[in-house]
């Protein structure tokens, strides 16, 4: 194994270890199987927290070395460990409950798990030989990372000459951390980091939704998300699109599960992933607005949950302010298109075709299979239920409605964005990926309660055996 691969594996192991400390502190780890199940969540929490801190470190004018990364990991882990000690958390001692292999449902779940593992293995091999990056990657995303690696920090001279100089810097920072641990700026092997992000996302999905969704359905959609053609095609291209999509979707998962279960640790996870979403790409702020808007609509009747959602969102947003100050104080090219307000008025004729572009791309089978239609149908059917199932459906649908309008706004306000749907001429095929991945990830959660509602209540003299999802979702029938 080359030094570069060892470096990427090592730094992701370090992120996972940091994340495990965070999880132990904020949630506790009950058994070794619990640890194993939450490794993906730990990886994503550790990666997001350390990288966001590293961006702030760079913005503060400091150099980013291996030692600094280790210190940042300690800075993230130490308070979490302290919290764990205060809460008298114990280390996992027991192995935990293994699934029983007697039922067809469990065997189906295991088969789907094996299929997901096999496909992720195939994607790993593709990452190992990746040879292509896109124009945006070599024009500015990776040169920014190279600048951080070679010149120690945010090299103003180079940043000033690059396109997208004010774009958020989480991805270049993560790439630069990888370079540090690789021992060289080995660009082709950055694909391995993207692979770790995808694996972290999918295993987090499995861990976060497991208490709410029956396993076979959950793993069916893990496989579904893994084989989305445009995800696989774009994963290793070196752009920040999938990075921001993954952080956004994980933030949404934390939020959706918090809305359903109200465990406090989920809000902490939501905040960390949201901060990473802001720091990954400028579209991240747009996606966050859609998600938070959706959550506020879904929880509107009580409004008691608005305060925690808004407070955590504001805290996450605060971490992105230093970057804004950095580039605006240096008068770099702003992160919004020049004259976008005027363009809105002068380009009213673009509204209708802009909607058409967004809808066409969302429903293009060759890109995204049927992720969006399935989730939309499930959500609409979920609206006929009450309680938390309806809340989840409303949250998803409201986020989608806001998201479609947000993407339409991008096309409308920026006349240089082409109104055709060809990959190379408009950024929207990449941008809709966030909504598609959100659909694929939330589909099992939206579908599970629908599959539990067959038996008419009047004809069931004895209490039916209820699946895990029903226990937790407190579904009520109209």
């Amino acid at each position: 194994m080359s030094r570069s691969i060892l470096g990427v594996v090592g730094v992701n192991g370090l992120f996972a270890l940091t994340g495990l400390c965070v999880l132990w502190g904020i949630r506790g780890l009950r058994s070794w199987l619990d640890v194993l199940e939450h490794l993906g969540v730990a990886l994503m929490l550790g990666l997001a927290a350390v990288t966001v801190l590293a961006t702030l470190w760079l913005i503060g004018g400091q150099h980013l070395t291996v030692w600094v990364v280790l210190v940042l990991c300690a800075v993230v882990a130490a308070p979490a460990v302290q919290l764990g000690l205060v809460r008298r958390r114990t280390l996992p001692r027991a192995l935990g409950d293994l699934p029983r292999l007697s039922s067809a449902a469990t065997l189906s779940a295991l088969a789907l798990f094996a299929l997901a593992a096999a496909f992720l293995g195939a994607l790993y091999l593709v990452a190992r030989v990746n040879s292509f990056i896109t124009e945006d990657s070599f024009v500015f995303w990776i040169p920014k990372a190279q600048a951080i690696y070679y010149f120690g920090g945010l090299d103003e001279q180079l940043f000033r000459t690059l396109h997208g100089s004010s774009y958020p810097i989480l991805l270049p920072t993560l790439d630069a951390i990888d370079f540090r641990f690789m021992g060289s700026a080995d660009v082709p092997n950055l694909a391995l980091q993207s692979w770790f992000l995808l694996v972290g996302c999918l295993t987090s999905m499995a861990a976060l939704l497991r208490p709410l969704v029956r396993p076979w359905l959950l793993w069916l959609f893990v496989v579904f998300a893994a084989v989305l053609p445009n995800l696989d095609y774009r994963l290793y291209l070196g752009e920040a699109d999938w990075t921001v999509d993954i952080f956004f979707v994980l933030a949404a998962l934390f939020l959706v599960r918090w809305v359903a279960m109200r465990e406090r640790w989920l809000l902490a996870g939501y905040g960390v992933l949201l901060a990473a979403t802001f720091a990954a790409k400028r579209e991240g702020a747009l996606f966050v607005v859609c998600l938070v808007g959706g959550a506020l609509v879904a929880t509107a009747p009580g409004r008691r949950r608005w305060l925690p959602i808004l407070a955590v969102t504001a805290g996450a947003y605060a971490t992105s302010i230093p970057w804004h100050v950095w580039w605006s104080s240096r008068h770099l090219q702003p992160d919004l298109p020049a004259g976008w307000r005027e363009n809105l008025v002068s380009n009213l004729s673009r509204i209708r075709p802009a909607y058409a572009v967004v809808f066409r791309l969302l429903f293009t089978y060759d890109f995204w299979l049927v992720a969006v239609p399935v989730a939309l149908v499930a959500a609409v059917l979920g609206l006929t239920l009450a309680g938390r199932v309806r809340e989840t459906a409303v949250l998803y649908l409201a986020t989608m409605v806001l998201g479609v309008n947000g993407l339409m706004w991008i096309v409308w306000s920026e006349p240089t964005v082409s109104l055709d749907t060809h990959n190379s001429t408009t950024p929207i095929p990449r941008a809709v990926g966030s909504l598609v991945l959100l659909s694929a990830v939330l589909a099992p959660l939206l579908l599970d309660p629908l599959l539990s509602r067959r038996r008419p209540a009047a004809k069931t003299p004895r209490r039916p055996r209820r699946p895990a999802s029903s226990r937790l979702a407190e579904v009520e029938k109209h």
């Binding site: 593709v126 292509f132 990056i133 049927v370 399935v374 149908v377």
Partner: protein
Amino acid sequence: MTLRLESTALRLLHRVEFAHVRFVGGILCVLAAVVVLALQVPHRFEWAKHTYDANAWRSPARRLLHTGETYLIPTDFQEAALTYVPRGSTFAVLPPPSPEIAAKGYGIPYLTLIDLPFWLQFLLLPSRMVTPSKAEYVLCFACDTDPWSPLTTWIWKNDSGELIGKVRRR
């Protein structure tokens, strides 16, 4: 006949509960996902195998250069740039006199000319790309060499009009 059918349909509709609609809808959604996966998974594995096979033969260095090759930047020119431009130096990219000359004389498409400086900046970092007047090295891509020859020692060239030169003190 029609009236009887309509009343039967209405009676059926009354009997149908939301729970049934939801259940059937949920099952159909799951079935749709299963069918799509059954059709798609073999293709995705094939795609992964094809992508692996298409790239596995490249050495790590060639993997780095491949994107440049897709923009029709010659491999030997990229390798020479990596070899002859020292790390930490300054360099400038000298383009052809015009896109027309590039296209007609050398078969270089316009897109290559647009992306060439960005690609070389990416490839040669930590060397810095500067304006030609400040450069220690010049990378001539089908350029007009006449103004540069008196000032430059050409240290590499190929048959396609690409040269690399070290600029002498001006």
